[in-house]
Symmetry: C2
Subunit: 209 residues, 2 copies
């Protein structure tokens, strides 16, 4: 199955602005994309990255520039099925999780993120339309039901963690051993402080001035 990975290289992850500067956010977003592409390619999947502006990732994947809104892009892709959509900010995905996801046979498979997100989606029948805002998870379930398509919720912790906030970064620090994006965070001074509830902290290792 062909997998679409949407990507926004310019000013990504603005909610991390308190802990990462603009250059760091761009580098971090790109390394998360690489973590995702790596595991998809290792699973033998064909990958197409749809990016809002030019990128160079050095991975064996089709790269297409497209400035349309996310929903419009993806719905254009879903004219041809089967197809999957995997978000670029899921660095904790591993081979086992991806293989379990693609083994499922229902018409529509939805991997939820927190707060009603849809982090991964597989669609095997024509006519399904995505809508990624305002609790997309419930909307996608409702769309599958109203079309009479079989659907399944994919139960995965790793797929549920899209990195948007400091709390999400903490998850990457705890669970992300071996990931490029986690190594980058380590390199720029992040670590876990073992408080009663573990906390994300950042050492400024070298003065920038």
């Amino acid at each position: 199955m062909k997998v679409i990975v949407p990507f926004k290289p310019i000013n990504p992850k603005s909610r991390l602005g308190n802990v990462l500067n603009s250059d760091e956010r761009e580098e971090f977003a790109k390394l998360m994309l690489l973590d995702v592409l790596k595991v998809l390619r290792e699973s033998g999947l064909e990958v197409k990255v749809i990016t809002t502006s030019k990128i160079d990732v050095g991975v064996d994947a089709e790269i297409v520039e497209d400035n349309r809104e996310l929903d419009e892009c993806i719905n254009a892709e879903l004219i041809e099925v089967p197809k999957a959509v995997v978000m670029s900010d899921l660095p904790l995905l591993n081979l086992e999780t991806i293989e379990r996801f693609f083994e499922m046979k229902e018409d529509v498979i939805i991997a939820p993120g927190r707060k009603g997100g849809t982090n991964m989606l597989a669609v095997r029948r024509k006519g399904f339309k995505v809508s990624y805002h305002y609790c997309s998870f419930l909307k996608h379930v409702s769309t599958a039901r109203s079309l009479g398509y079989s659907y399944r919720i994919f139960d995965s912790f790793y797929a549920s963690i899209d990195i948007d906030t400091e709390d999400d970064i903490l998850e990457l620090m705890i669970h992300g051993e071996g990931k490029l994006s986690r190594s980058f965070l380590n390199r720029i001074g992040f670590h876990i402080e073992m408080a009663k509830v573990p906390k994300l902290v950042r050492y400024v290792k070298y003065s920038r001035f």
Copy 2:
């Protein structure tokens, strides 16, 4: 495998004090326990609830009062293996998730919660000791490694959602169709407001005065 479910009936879920009063928190905690016990019993597992004070749940499970600290209680239980520990605040657990968990064959199976928690644990060899505070997930992985035991991380979204905060309640509202604890929240006025990022809101349906 025998499953231990620790429970604290008095003043539970204090971090929900902003959205639930003390009586509501007690009722809510008990209904979450019932949601968990229901799915464990449906899976045919033998269940022992260890509670800090007397409860009446009306479910076919052994109920034992024990006022020791959590770690001490569980480590006493782990003298006899195999044994599992499932937290009582995981109302999103379903039959499929529980069955997938208990099918795994490693010496130690850990289902992570957010912020380094250990939400479910299965132990098949003697000598493993739990430590539930200060990023228990990393400590349990490290204990399994140092004992030379095989271990596996159980990848589940539903098992990862222990209900401690308002954000967690939002997850129960989105994903908890059919759960006793979710019905209770509906009954006392909670619903999801479909903002760009969905929000938890509570209608006060009837004045209490």
